[in-house]
Amino acid sequence: MAKNTSSSAFRKIDVDQYCEDNFKEDDTDSGGLVGPDENEENALNLTLRVLLSIKPSQIEEAVNSLDINLLDTLMKYVYKGFENPSEGSSGHLLLWHEKVYNVGGVGCIVRVLADTRRV
């Protein structure tokens, strides 16, 4: 028989990596493999403190003044805030959620779920 049948190295290749249809991560995402860095954490803490300190009566005004991209980012921060509930924070965040939903609609939430860039 032909001499190339003695080697079984072909069995060890991962054929899937050569498939053209594979999902390729965006270049920006692969840069973010470093993980949550200090700046991100500071931004998160600061935003949450601001959100919690704004009075309920002022929320609507604040939300109306934002454009759609900022609205999506705000919704992301609201959801992030839910993950670490503290005394009374969740109730306040629920108010924010409602007001942002009234302006942004279901699409706002869908974009939070679907966006690859996290908070």
């Binding site: 959801y79 993950e83 969740s90 629920l94 939903y101 679907a114």
Partner: protein, 191 residues
């Protein structure tokens, strides 16, 4: 406390409506297979960002979506030991009968008390808004049921202990009135 209940449930409802956009999607890894991607997590691009909605530190809902399935995990309010035990037993009872519930998961996710798994096949057979209604209704009813069960347990405990005490009382009175035991009346024999 109950002031946060309505906003909590509306927030969960809106998020569920957004998350329950499911499509049929065969497995990319194994041919001819169709698996709920949120469980298998075979490909990163098919699973969306998981999202938490919390009412307070104890009660929260985790919603994880993917292209063809959504997993909803609920953490139920358990204020004291009795509620913890009741909740655990109640959830266990339901999870053992998960097949009859169709959308229930047999095991809850780590850190939560009960989980639902809704796939595109469910949304094809059932109305999406009704599924969302079901989950919200479930969340409302659980709290009520556990409170009711706790009241029932306390009421039964009270009745039982009253019965026991009454019987003891009757026994004691009978002993005291027994003519053949005069020394009891003089208190020389301790009961």
């Amino acid at each position: 406390m109950s002031a946060t209940l309505k906003p909590y449930l509306t927030a969960v409802r809106h998020t569920l409506t957004a998350a329950m956009c499911l499509d049929n999607f065969s497995s990319q890894v194994v041919e001819r297979h169709n698996k709920p991607e949120v469980e298998v997590r075979s490909s990163k691009e098919l699973v969306l960002t998981p999202v938490v909605i919390s009412r307070n530190e104890k009660e929260k809902v985790l919603i994880e979506t993917s292209v063809n399935s959504v997993r909803i995990s609920i953490s139920v309010k358990q204020a004291d030991e009795i509620e913890k035990i009741l909740c655990k037993k109640f959830m266990r009872f339901m999870m053992m009968r998960a097949e009859n519930f169709i959308v229930l998961r047999r095991k809850p996710i780590e850190g939560y008390d009960i989980s639902f798994l809704i796939t595109n096949f469910h949304t094809e057979q059932m109305y999406k808004h009704k599924l969302v209604d079901f989950v919200i209704h479930f969340m409302e009813e659980i709290d009520k049921e556990i409170s009711e069960m706790k009241l029932a347990v306390n009421a039964r405990a009270r009745i039982v202990s009253e019965e026991v005490i009454n019987r003891r009382k009757i026994q004691i009175v009978q002993l005291l009135n027994d003519p053949e035991l005069p020394q009891l009346k003089t208190g020389k024999i301790a009961l």
